[in-house]
Symmetry: C2
Subunit: 491 residues, 2 copies
């Protein structure tokens, strides 16, 4: 195989010439309704994995397979002919969030449409768009130079939106095959205002469901009202007891493992180019509220949360139905920060819910998954390399930020494979990920492809074989004297 | 028209001979899905009104019409040839509650089925069954004797399950036409253990919906979590604030107009043949709970309540979806007791909800209707007459009770038409009214028809033209020295 490094000009020309075919492939990928959380879509998840595998094979990536995990399969492939250069594990996910409420979509979520410079579809940003950018960067490099500047191992999974339930075991089983110098995860976004950024921190997740049961059937609220506990009232009482009016979570022990923000952390947050009023207006809420004593950026990037993701029970139709519902349910999740452990938090949550549950109803609490928080120190050379590539592709140096979302696999790559993680993501922050009308700004998509290609070129020159590893995840092994970079100014 | 009083034996024989045709007609009535709260069923409501009108015409009732009300129509008809005898307004309703959750029904709710001596269908008890009993009692009397023992004006409406929104105006417009001596309402049930009973008290109703809105779209709970108020958490906070752990409703002023229970009231409740453990087991709850300081019978019969009838917001599917829902909703109703006024209670409720609503979300409170509570003193001669008829038909004297449910029209008959109301209902207390698998014990249905016929015969002998009126409803005009009979022992 000829391995000639392509010039930037050749790469750009190739990408310019193939824009139409690229978008057609992007749209074909988006048309697959790979909703991982809904069992009915399992065949679609497999189709999406096969789509990715076919793309990898077509462009010349080797050892391509649709690998079984016990859940939705993942697509794996590698290209390992960059002798002497570092090895990069590239991670993304082809699965997407559910699409309801469907009536709020401007166009059907799995019929991609280009509108106002954006690709509108479920997964356009999170994360099919970014998976597709990696595919296209590799394609362009292989097509123009016959090689990649680094060794790359692609891992595109299908369970990120369901807490990557089966990935850890697969990583453990494939530890040798996945040996590398760094992991690059593209599942984050630019900073507010669509400012290029490198993400240093991710929150973890604890997701649970509370089920409250009273009578086996709905009861007439007149005949029985007053003499029995109402499961919905009971559920509201429980949920209300979880958080105080000051935004503090009231579960005993909840904050025990939260690493406090240092003065430097807070200064870094304060230095970010953040327009709070534009942020509020963009969300469309009357006012921003949160935990007393913290700024908006701190609240969403470095503090844990407790949110009800869904609640239901009893009559939801038009008009009036006078019943005491038989049962009521809530899906509740907490975003976690270092060093909170999702399993421990679930136990505390469950115990507290059962403790505050009123008599007269039966309460069950079940876990629906979770993931560890992660915080990467800035000085890692791969991070710096990625920042340089992004600066070149986007025309401005990226900021360093902490992202409020969770990518459980980030901690897994650190913990299981011992890899430092670079979180280089390219979607616009108003991408409506997880919401109706998800979209990707196509300019971000195009610049991202170019940034990824340059990032690999930058990394080719780095010595990542050893002490480059400066990442850490939550939990045992963290040492107190590591640099802790909460959020930074431009790199 | 020949008007010969039929013997009890002739009446019984007629009813025995016509049982099959009677059940066929009952089932045909139940097959009409007259769900008044759902606009899609408006034509079905009209069909049900026409069904009743056709029946009245067929048996010889006069001036029959399907009367327009501005909402669902009502069926009216009268028979006024019992010279010198009292005039009775008979009230029932042909509309029914919604049927969801449909999957909990043993058989389709609008395909009536006889099982274990019960008629199983939506409306079998509440209230088509009891409307049908009045039709059949009149039919039997007219067929066997060519006359009714009293003058009867039938008013069968179609909006009882939606707070009888248009009935008051129709009653006002037809005040002269509806002049009478007493109203008989058959929309209540026997006491626990299927003990025949006369209901003296009904609770009123205040029904409202709370709508909480945050962002116009669902938000990613990671990206935004911590920086915005969550509409579901806010709604739970509001609902939890409405009632304390002691079962007391915390809305300021809520209890201001509640007439306290006298020692005699409490003694009457205590004297009822009530098996609390059988009641609890029948409902299928772990324990009975309610307002501190009151017994179970007092809580459901003579104390106001606050229940969530339905709640929804965000993701209700299988698995995990990590969103901050755009909006959340709850339907909340209060059962009211004398002298609470539903309009006043709605205002207090709305003001308190808005007061306790947290910042960062928009909260709306809308009324979905209501009705006044009602309490009838026992000594009215029509009540005593009804009790005697019931004793004769059922083989045991009825108990006097207070029913926790609401029949808004009860207060309307008292207030607008100045009529004393006799609440003579015949359904089994485990009829699952408003719930899946509603049913009517056919023995109650048969005995009820006979009791109704006898009740009219008993009333024929009474002088109800004047001071017989001893009823009162909540609100102005009540005098403190009227007898207040909360619940009694056997008559």
């Amino acid at each position: 195989m000829t391995t000639t490094a392509p010039s930037d000009a050749a790469l750009d020309r190739y990408l310019d010439d193939n824009r139409e075919a690229r978008l057609a492939s992007y749209e074909a990928f988006l048309r697959i309704p790979s909703v991982s959380t809904l069992p009915a879509h399992a065949p679609d998840c497999r189709r999406a994995a096969e789509f990715v595998a076919d793309e990898l094979r077509w462009m010349g990536v080797e050892h391509v397979e649709v690998a079984e995990t016990g859940g939705h399969p993942l697509a794996y492939g590698d290209w390992l002919h960059a002798e002497g250069a570092p090895t990069v594990v590239v991670y993304g996910h082809y699965d997407v969030q559910p699409v309801d409420p469907l009536d709020l979509w401007e166009s059907p979520p799995f019929e991609p449409a280009v509108k106002g410079g954006r690709m509108l579809a479920r997964g356009a940003a999170d994360d099919k768009g970014q998976v597709h950018m990696h595919l296209r960067a590799a394609e362009a490099l292989l097509a123009t130079g016959g090689s990649l500047p680094v060794n790359v191992k692609f891992v595109f999974e299908g369970e990120e939106e369901t807490s990557s339930e089966h990935l850890d075991r697969w990583l453990e089983q494939n530890r040798d095959r996945l040996s590398a110098d760094v992991a690059v995860i593209s599942d984050t976004s630019f900073f507010e205002g669509n400012v290029p950024s490198i993400t240093l921190g991710l929150r973890g997740l604890m997701y649970a469901q509370i089920d409250v049961t009273g009578s086996p059937v709905d009861l007439h609220s007149g005949t029985y009202g007053g003499s029995v506990e109402n499961p919905v009232n009971a559920l509201c009482h429980i949920v209300a007891a979880l958080k105080g009016p000051d935004g503090r979570i009231l579960i005993p022990g909840f904050y025990d493992d939260v690493v406090p923000l240092s003065d430097a952390d807070r200064a870094a947050f304060a230095a970010l180019p953040f327009d709070e009023e534009a942020y509020r207006a963009g969300i469309g809420v009357e006012s921003l509220v949160g935990e007393v004593g913290f700024t908006t950026l701190e609240r969403r990037g470095a503090r844990p949360t407790l949110d009800v993701n869904g609640i239901w029970g009893g009559f939801q139709g038009e008009g009036a139905k006078t019943i005491i519902p038989a049962h009521a349910h809530a899906k509740v999740s907490c975003r976690l920060v270092t060093d909170q452990d999702p399993d421990r938090i679930f136990e505390l949550f469950r115990d507290f819910v059962l403790e505050v549950a009123p008599p007269g109803v039966t309460v069950d609490v079940v876990s629906l998954g979770g993931g560890r928080p992660s915080l990467t120190p800035r000085p890692h050379p791969a991070t710096t390399g990625a920042a340089g590539a992004m600066a070149a592709a986007c025309g401005r140096a990226p900021v360093y930020m902490r992202e409020g979302g969770s990518i459980p696999v980030c901690a897994s790559f650190e913990r299981i494979l011992g890899l430092p993680v670079v979180l280089a993501g390219f979607t616009n922050p108003d991408d409506n990920a997880h919401a109706p009308n998800e979209s990707m700004v196509l300019d971000n998509y195009e610049r991202g492809i170019r940034a990824i290609a340059r990032m690999w070129q930058e990394m080719a020159a780095l010595d990542l074989s050893d002490g480059g590893r400066g990442s850490r995840s939550a939990g045992p092994g963290r040492t107190g004297d590591e640099p802790r970079q909460g959020a930074g100014t431009t790199a």
